[in-house]
């Protein structure tokens, strides 16, 4: 415990120092510092080379620049962020900043740094979470926990926010600046303010001025343009949807007879009338319009299958985003710290709520998919179709399929595979499944799940 605690404190401190250095030293300053260090190291023997002259000059530059950077900097600026509500993993999020110079003097050469919330994890998180490639690392890397720390910091930071060089701001004027960033991880990206940095006249060191401002943006999972699966119990005869439906009832309620239209199910043909009249007449039932789907997401993924989990979340988000919320109710069933089922759709929260949940969902490596059993057993009576996204295939997954199948609920089952070899294995193993299973290799989701 002693060692991890020491490592944690060291990383914590190093991160802080590195953050502060980046805010106070320009790239040119960093380069000049490196020049000084190298020449000081190799230029010590003054009889051999004249490197000590470069060392003296670089030191002089650094000192003069450092002294100049101490000059006071209190800009009178008003800033307004115009952030989008959502961002998407891997897609550029564009936003704008409106800056007004309230002072009497023009402001030039200012660099703006967005201040995200502190991404450093706590000690417990560092000790319990595992990074996706930890099983491939050597013993030293695993012992020092560095990669785990780096991964947690990046994951918590969500995106790399680049500094913005502000244009010249005349006094009293307002300028709007467009900026962008590309999120790498889903979840909430919190901003705590901005730091305005003014490089000294030589451009090596910077003086900072911080403006506090709390903003947040939800980074949604990556989504694909997928067509919703055709489940046999879905509504078919009300093209206008719920709003144009004439009546409400159960689907097995007989309503009337009418002539056959191409596409009608054959088992609804009224054979007696056909025998009598020779015409195809079909039994019309009360159409089901209040469809309730369940989207079951397998979150019970070990850390080394992080990519698979992210892909599963992306597929779930893609289906949620593509479904029409007015015609159906969607239950999202997943396991996090406790087993949960969330509903969205007609009269309930919109799909954006579901996406928010998916954005923040974490994997549960310490439990198995069978944990979903009680939630499914109680909820299966209400649903008329299910989309099940598994992150792999095992007996437990088969058991879940069996439970759903016994409740006579039509289901569309997806099992994810990391590579082609694993895909072949899963295809072989899913032979005994009550449903046909679509085995999808990660990285090829749109190709494999889109309906041609």
């Amino acid at each position: 415990m002693m060692m991890p605690r020491f490592l944690y404190r060291s990383y914590w401190l190093l991160h802080r120092v590195s953050f502060r250095v980046k805010r106070h030293v320009t790239p040119a300053g960093a380069m000049m510092t490196a020049v000084f260090c190298i020449t000081a190291l190799f230029g010590l023997n003054m009889y051999k080379t004249t490197l000590y002259q470069v060392m003296a000059l670089s030191l002089s530059l650094l000192l003069v620049s450092a002294v100049l950077s101490l000059m006071p900097f209190r800009p009178r600026l008003r800033l307004r962020h115009i952030l989008p509500v959502y961002g998407t993993v891997g897609e550029k999020s564009v936003y704008s900043i409106e800056i007004t110079n309230l002072g009497q003097k023009p402001e030039r050469g200012i660099i703006l740094y967005e201040d995200p919330a502190d991404p450093r994890p706590d000690l417990n998180t560092l000790l319990t979470r595992k990074e996706p490639y930890e099983h491939l690392r050597n013993a030293w890397d695993r012992k020092t926990l560095y990669y785990r720390w780096a991964w947690l910091v990046l994951k918590s930071g969500k995106a790399r926010l680049r500094p913005i060089i502000l244009p010249d701001l005349p006094p009293g004027e307002t300028l709007s600046i467009a900026a962008d960033f590309t999120p790498n991880y889903r979840g909430y990206l919190h901003f705590t303010g901005v730091t305005l940095a003014r490089p000294d006249i030589l451009g090596l060191f910077m003086r900072n001025f911080r403006i506090q401002k709390t903003e947040k943006l939800l980074v949604l999972p990556r989504r694909y343009a997928l067509d919703p699966p055709e489940l046999t119990s879905s509504r078919q005869y009300h093209p206008g949807g719920v709003n144009l439906a004439s009546s409400i009832g159960n689907s097995d309620e007989f309503m009337s007879l009418r002539y056959y239209r191409p596409g009608d199910p054959l088992h609804h043909i009224h054979w007696r009338t056909f025998a009598r009249t020779g015409e195809l007449v079909i039994k019309e039932f009360e159409d089901e319009f209040f469809v309730r789907y369940a989207l079951v997401l397998d979150t019970f993924v070990p850390p080394e299958r992080e990519r698979v989990f992210e892909e599963a979340v992306s597929i779930a988000a893609s289906y949620i985003a593509s479904m029409d919320p007015h015609d159906a109710i969607l239950d999202l069933v997943l396991g996090s710290h406790a087993m949960d089922a969330f509903s969205s759709g007609r009269g309930l929260g919109g799909s954006e709520k579901m996406l928010e949940i998916l954005s923040c969902v974490e994997s549960c490596p310490d439990k198995t998919v069978l944990e979903l059993k009680p939630v499914l057993e109680s909820g299966l009576k209400k649903i008329s179709g299910a989309i099940i996204i598994f992150s792999g295939w095992s007996r437990d997954h088969e058991e879940i399929c069996r439970i759903i199948h016994e409740a006579l609920v039509p289901a569309f089952v997806i099992a994810l595979a990391e590579d082609a070899r694993q895909k072949e294995t899963i295809v072989r193993e899913t032979g005994g499944s009550p449903y046909p299973v679509r085995v999808v290799q990660i990285g090829a989701v749109p190709e494999e799940l889109s309906i041609p």
Binding site: K48, Y52, Q53, V54, M55, A56, S60, D168, I201
Partner: protein
């Protein structure tokens, strides 16, 4: 960030000029700068970048190997000299690649393999400033005296930092700051040089108490230890050599005796010389000097030279630095492990400093012993020449040479024991006793150490000096001149030979080692210097052929070269050609704005309804041309072009 135009070229020229590779520097500069004008770029994959980094690594390894082979002691300097050429493949591929930057992972073998394990973003860097610094660092190899190098470095710094300057302050302030920096730096480098030299002297004086080559004090009995080794330490050939002739090769002189140790406190001064030619003027030139050539090895990069009396100059000695003190002790620093020195010397008169009070003093503890000895010999009433004769005869007839160390016995001091009881000892006893006896008689004397060259090797065709030939003798000041005065019985050479046998096999190995070293330092260095560069040519050709054969290099048209405006698009499409001007004059278009809403926003700022009307009209024409009927497009385009031409002129005329 990219370096300014011509920056890399000029810095490469400077490097070439400074290190004596001007043509190479010019060639590299032309290649690099041509990247700015060339209209083609190579579309390279990460693996291709890795290959170029690998070439640099191979070149680095090759240079290290060559440097270690030719001159291990100066390997770091040789490496420093060739750094810009070694890293040229990296900067070259960056400048000619379409990407224009290097992926950081290319530089580390570990990260190249772990690509699938990376969860962080790829980091690309521009190495042009780093390369410029490497060139500047390499130029320091020339070790130019004076302030020229510093002045050039200031100029390069100013040029390089120009684009990083803050635009908040006026230009005058920036210039003032740079001047302050340059002046402070100048004084700083002077201070650093002085501090460095002081530190170096302090370290050397500190080492002098512990390290053999730079020892300025000695101990009685130490030579006895040394004499037990028959290792060859020096090879010498004298032009006046005759069979049976012996030579005293002087290394160090001491003048203070205390507690059985000899000390010297003479400061060292630099000997003027030309490092490249290896010529060092130790003393003022004289006519008809004698010549001798010697080969010896440096110990930890330093050596105290063993020289014949009256050294005038030393040539063909490739040393980094050469110093001498007032008693003609010459020491050198840095150089190849095997040193060759061709020495011109007088053979008799020396250039030692005139006697001081130390050269007359006899330690209080030893005074009664030497007073008694002088009295016994009756030295008080004799002339200088008579005294020398008496003393020489005294030691020659009454004393015997022995390697046995007998300590002080029952006497008060080891010297008393030597003079009155044992009457036998090794050369240190003879030399010390002679010096103190002569001082007691009023003749200035000093204690000298070095080697006696007497053994002729048929195998090598010259004199060889072994460690057991280490010797000590006295120097006396007679007739206004210092001269060697050796009182050790000549039989000591035979006794040494008997007691310390030599091994023919060891000598043979030593000879082959010496020949190999000469071949390496004299022939090998020239070969690498002359043909080393040509060896790199096939390496580069092989790489190019390999890349070509596997089709990894594709030539593409460079459309988005930095520093060039995208003229193609502006010419092809109508309204876009004035978009840049509008952005400059009225502020950039926001991502969500249509052209119409952008123009409306600008119109509020400008208050020029006529111009705005024309702009809206041009936008309408543009939209009709883009989205209207195909048969009218040509006509519309012509009208639009005319309109836009007039508009752009009007816009450019606006403040």
């Amino acid at each position: 960030m990219k370096t300014p135009r011509f920056f890399l070229g000029v810095i490469l020229l400077f490097w070439g000029w400074q290190v004596g590779l001007l043509w190479l520097g010019l060639g590299l500069a032309v290649v690099l700068e041509s990247a700015r004008w060339a209209k083609t770029r190579f579309e390279l994959q990460a693996s291709d970048f890795n290959k170029f980094v690998d070439i640099s690594t191979v070149l680095l390894a090759f240079t290290i190997l060559a440097a270690l082979t030719t001159d291990a002691k100066k390997a770091n300097l040789i490496l420093l000299r060739w750094l810009p050429l070694i890293f040229f493949p990296i900067i070259g591929v960056q400048e000619f690649s379409a990407k224009g930057r290097m992926d950081v992972k290319s530089f580390f073998f570990a990260t190249r393999k772990k690509t699938e394990m990376r969860f962080y973003e790829t980091k690309e860097i521009d190495v042009s400033y780093i390369y410029a610094f490497v060139c500047l660092m390499s130029s320091a190899y020339a070790n130019a005296k004076g302030s020229f190098y510093y002045f050039c470095v200031v100029l390069f710094f100013v040029w390089g930092l120009w684009q990083f300057r803050s635009r908040r302050g006026p230009l005058a302030a920036w210039i003032t700051c740079i001047l302050i920096v340059a002046l402070t730096g100048y004084h700083g480098q002077n201070l650093a040089r002085q501090a460095g030299r002081t530190l170096s002297r302090w370290i050397m004086s500190h080492y002098a108490y512990t390290m053999d080559p730079f020892k300025t004090y000695t101990a009685l009995g130490e030579i006895g230890d040394l004499k037990f080794s028959d290792r060859i330490v020096l090879r010498a050939s004298f032009e006046d050599y005759a069979p049976g002739k012996t030579y005293l090769l002087h290394s160090a002189t001491y003048n203070r005796f205390a507690s059985s140790n000899w000390f010297a406190k003479y400061g060292f001064e630099r000997v003027e010389g030309k490092k490249d030619g290896g010529f060092w003027q130790v003393n003022p030139p004289r006519e008809n000097p004698l010549k001798m050539t010697q080969y010896f090895r440096l110990q930890k990069g330093r050596a105290v030279l063993s020289l014949p009396p009256g050294v005038i100059d030393i040539s063909e000695m490739k040393a980094g630095d050469c110093e001498k003190n007032a008693v003609q002790v010459v020491r050198i620093e840095d150089g190849p492990s095997l040193i060759k020195a061709v020495v011109s010397y007088t053979g008799a008169s020396t250039y030692d400093a005139l006697p001081g009070t130390d050269d007359y003093s006899v330690p209080v503890k030893e005074k009664p012993v030497f007073e008694a000895a002088a009295k016994n010999l009756g030295l008080e009433d004799k002339s200088e020449e008579e005294i020398l004769k008496t003393v020489h005869g005294f030691f020659l007839t009454q004393f015997a040479y022995s390697l046995e160390l007998k300590g002080k016995g029952k006497a008060g001091t080891p010297l008393e024991n030597f003079l009155f009881h044992t009457k036998a000892g090794h050369c240190e006893f003879f030399a010390t006793a002679t010096v103190l006896l002569l001082r007691q008689a009023g003749i200035p004397a000093r204690y000298a150490t070095g080697f006696i060259a007497h053994e002729y090797s048929r195998l090598e065709g010259g004199l060889i000096v072994r460690l057991r030939d280490a010797h000590a003798w006295a120097k006396v000041f007679v007739n206004g001149q210092w001269r060697n005065f050796d009182t050790t019985p000549p039989s000591f050479l035979n006794i040494d030979e008997e007691q310390i046998p030599t091994s023919f096999l060891e000598d043979l190995f030593s000879f082959f080692g010496f020949k190999l070293s000469r071949l390496r330092h004299e022939t090998g260095a020239k070969l690498v210097e002359t043909y080393g560069l040509w060896l790199m040519l096939p390496l580069g050709l092989m790489l190019l052929l390999r890349l070509r054969r596997s089709g990894q290099i594709k030539r593409i048209k460079d459309r988005d070269r930095p520093g060039r405006k995208k003229k193609g698009r502006a010419r092809a499409t109508g309204f876009y050609r004035i978009e840049e001007i509008l952005s400059e004059k009225g502020g950039p278009r926001r991502p969500h704005e249509t052209y119409a809403s952008w123009l409306k926003r600008i119109s509020r700022q400008w208050d020029n309804p006529a111009l705005m009307e024309q702009l809206f009209q041009a936008l309408d024409q543009h939209n009709q041309w883009r989205f209207g009927r195909p048969e009218q497009r040509e006509d519309l385009k012509r009208k639009l072009e005319e309109n836009l031409m007039a508009l752009s002129e009007k816009l450019l005329a606006r403040p």
